[in-house]
Symmetry: C2
Subunit: 118 residues, 2 copies
DNA sequence: TCAATAATTAAAGGACTATTGAAATATGAA
DNA sequence: TTCATATTTCAATAGTCCTTTAATTATTGA
């Protein structure tokens, strides 16, 4: 993740519909969700969800693949992780105390680490 | 950090000059940097840096305080940490594997955790 | 092939954002 | 007070982004 990618990722996440799409796709997991399902859940028009999905796809935060008549979108976990790292590396280079609270969240996600910290 | 704050934070970070301001302020630490110093480092006009600083201040990612003739800007570590947590909590609710790589960065920032993990 | 479904693309508008240059405000020093 | 410094504010312009509607593409089944 370079600065160029981070900028487009931040731009992608700075719009309400798109941020909600990401949240839904992250929770949906590898099976993803169809464009129509997202439009229905978020109560926006098909063309509008399509517009935002294209923005997110262009940023690399999501991926798409056709499945019959539907197009299934999935969160790109590497890109999302990369963006988090980008933010954290910046703060690490200066003042690690920014990262400390994030580390707490990180440990709650990684059981193996939690065990070691007992 | 709620979704409303996250949206304005992402918008604030989605512009090159503003992202660079944040990076400079994070590295600068609690002493911060004057508006003029930032303008000089980033080679933008005083009025332009002022515009972007106001955007960042409005988002809560930075703070300001006058010191003699200069206005000193500092990174708001709590907001930055909160934004990182916001991104990570979303992924935790779904698929923790996003957080795992971030946790590696987090440990490099928190020496105490690194010791425990030995 | 024809109709239905799922989604995208295109065009037009209105709204917001960024940049520039000039004028205004605030502070400190002579 | 007057001048210089540091920064902000204002107004105008250009550019970008979001939404809407209508038209188009792709796929499936009768």
């Amino acid at each position: 993740m370079n600065q160029r990618q981070a900028l487009t990722s931040f731009a992608a996440l700075s719009q309400e519909t798109r941020l909600q799409i990401i949240r839904l796709l992250v929770v949906a997991g590898p099976e993803g969700l169809a464009a129509g399902a997202l439009a229905e859940k978020l109560e926006v028009s098909p063309s509008n969800i399509s517009f935002h999905l294209k923005e997110l796809e262009h940023s690399g935060l999501i991926g798409a693949q056709r499945q019959s008549r539907s197009i299934i979108y999935t969160a790109n976990y590497e890109s999302l992780g990369g963006l988090i790292r980008f933010l954290m590396e910046d703060c690490c280079s200066g003042h690690p105390e920014i990262c400390a609270p994030a580390a707490v969240v990180a440990t709650c996600c990684t059981p193996k680490m939690e065990e070691k910290l007992q």
